[in-house]
Symmetry: D2
């Protein structure tokens, strides 16, 4: 079983004035956990800002194969210690999937080392997401592209390191492009950034989006796991 | 002085039925040579399929700092020996800029090692080319994007190795995206692929396109140059 | 089952004056096939220069999940058409492992696009191979390093594109270093270059070397497979 | 003029019991500043932990083209705010060269996003540093390798992202290897990590080491510079 922890700040969905409260009354994490739980090889738990210490402990992360992260207005409410723990466990081997506005989350920014900036606009744009790496495990089972009737527009430049692979490139009908699916290896951990998922659209109910996230979970599961990537061992001469 | 050799198959422009003959009566190579020649630090010569052995000799390539290549229907008319010479001189340090349909030229395919395939359509699409690496030398002096009223549409997936940097991403009004500017280092040579330039549009007369190509020439000029990258020297123990 | 085709030029082992004939009387391909065949999930066949058309047909490659290639003096005896077929099937999804002197084989050079040159010396050097990417699937089950009592020394610079990951770095007791294990993705195909395996040493009988090659087979097996990477499809507008 | 700021924690050299106090009585920063100042196109200032706020202000960094960083025991004495400022200015375009034990400095770790861990030993090892990317600007003017009579041994695995280019690989006579010169681009900034320079050896007085650092300064100088990489601008539709 692949043990997945879906983390969501869970703020917009509790705001009755925000469309998110209608679309995801129990939170986006619940929606994501639900479709992942249907897979025979995936086991899901969730955590949010409402939980003590964000619901994150070293022990829990060590039992997690892949963490999925959604955050936006609450980025600063995540303590630096929690963000550092997530970063370290990724380097120790845990997989990580960062969704949409998590591009500015503390754990993602720490792992990338860059600004992770982009341009944006909420104007009900239509998005067509092209598969640019059709051989990648994350793109299996999709056609040449898939579409989202409405999404927040994210535009280039995206302030991240050159990715290992650009799996998806997004086209927006009002004129922008965005590298919408990017993979990274950082020490023992695999990282996938995926752009779709603004809280005011039912993006995580879209079957293609669900397929991408499910594929990404399987791709990101650990090859191996260590306890202590931060150590710099003193070593004797070999012989 | 940076010595540039602009190579063009020069077929479409001699076909009176092809719009290219109106737009570039003397050939695209002449148009490109003309705008580059205005730069104080650049010196240009040209060659075409009409020249003996494509106008390419080992000696000429060794005196060339940067080669620019445009080809389409005539890819197969370039002898393998000529393509191999161009490939070797790039590995020896010569810069190379491949334009538009040169994605399927023999020298580019040899350097990439991949299919260099893509999807395409001629339907008078409007293209907006976004700068995705604004810090790259090739993107200097441009705004956030530039536009071409008409271009052939090229679409993903583009069958090339993951690039060192994705400098440009193209947006087409009929719905495609394409990684329009890609850089590679291959041994001592720098390589830039640039998508715009279908023969039936006045693309190489566009000031932004000219700026990109001029920047790319300066970026691709050799750092150092050797004669014999193909050698595998036998070496004695160091001491 | 992962279907592996071990290809070996099989020249040195048939030369009674060459130590290889004692170490590998039935050929290195037989030795490699033997240890791989012990794995429950791997099925092996072999081919050599002695077979018609190198034992390689399009059909056979399409039924092959991972090809392993050893060549040296016979590189030029492999027809260009065979090398092109191997290259294309890798781009179509077949995994490929290139061993030792296969760095100058036609299929590897075509896939890399570079000289693949290096420095070398036969002086009975001891080699210690360090794991530089301990989280990579190919490095699982190894210690921090493994050792070969004797190997041909390969030295830098190695004329290949920057790899996706440098899995191993070799240390030789007479003073050289070499990037001994490198991974590449090229379209749908995964490629692993592995330096050990000079014909006059029993390298492929070494348990660590066997573990590396076995891991590499599992790593390189196809994610997906297509028929026609070379096609550039004309596409109608999406809507 | 390229404006260089050499930053050194300057602790070991003030400790009379440490050999560093004999080799670099005025500090390693002074030694580095001295050889760089001999170049016509380079202008140097220095700063240390003894200066208020590490001698680092936003204004000073904005006037700096390339920062060189040496740190070891004092990593934790550098305030997080200073480290964040250095990181941001690199992303804004400032070049950065991290020397030896600066692999665990706060600015380098923030830029890499990884553990930056390695193995190490002080046992008076001899090091031979091989040029693995002879075409790189940083390697110009060197032979195939250069040597250091004594250095602290650094060993793999080195916990950093896959570099853009591996310029140097170190060989140590007691059996280790290390990727000794690595380049990265992070948004508008260029980064070079260079392994030599333990405080108890006169490494920075070595002419080859001086050539590498001088080359690296010229390579890392900004292409362009911005003020605000951290911004995520809201953008209106293009038209």
């Amino acid at each position: 079983m692949i043990k997945v922890l879906v983390w969501n700040e869970f703020m917009h969905e509790k705001d009755a004035d925000n469309k998110a409260s209608e679309i995801y009354p129990e939170g986006m994490h619940k929606c994501i956990a639900d479709f992942l739980s249907k897979e025979d090889d995936i086991e899901v738990t969730t955590a949010t800002l409402d939980d003590e210490n964000c619901g994150i402990t070293r022990e829990r992360l060590r039992e997690t194969d892949v963490i999925i992260w959604w955050g936006h207005c609450g980025h600063d409410k995540v303590p630096d210690e929690v963000a550092a723990m997530v970063q370290e466990e990724v380097l120790n081997g845990m997989g990580a999937i960062f969704l949409h506005s998590a591009h500015k989350s503390k754990p993602f920014m720490r792992l990338m080392g860059t600004s992770c900036s982009l341009t944006w606009r909420e104007s009900d744009d239509f998005e067509r997401i092209w598969v640019s790496a059709p051989g990648h495990p994350i793109a299996q089972g999709l056609g040449r592209y898939f579409e989202l009737e409405g999404e927040e527009t994210y535009g280039e430049p995206f302030g991240v390191p050159a990715p290992d692979e650009t799996v998806f490139v997004g086209w927006y009908d009002k004129g922008e492009v965005f590298r919408s699916g990017l993979t990274y290896v950082r020490e023992r951990g695999k990282i996938f950034y995926f752009q779709p998922g603004h809280e005011t659209y039912p993006t995580y109910k879209n079957p293609d989006v669900q397929k991408v996230i499910t594929n990404a979970v399987r791709w990101a599961k650990p090859v191996c796991r260590i306890d202590n990537c931060m150590d710099c061992p003193h070593v004797p001469p070999v012989k």
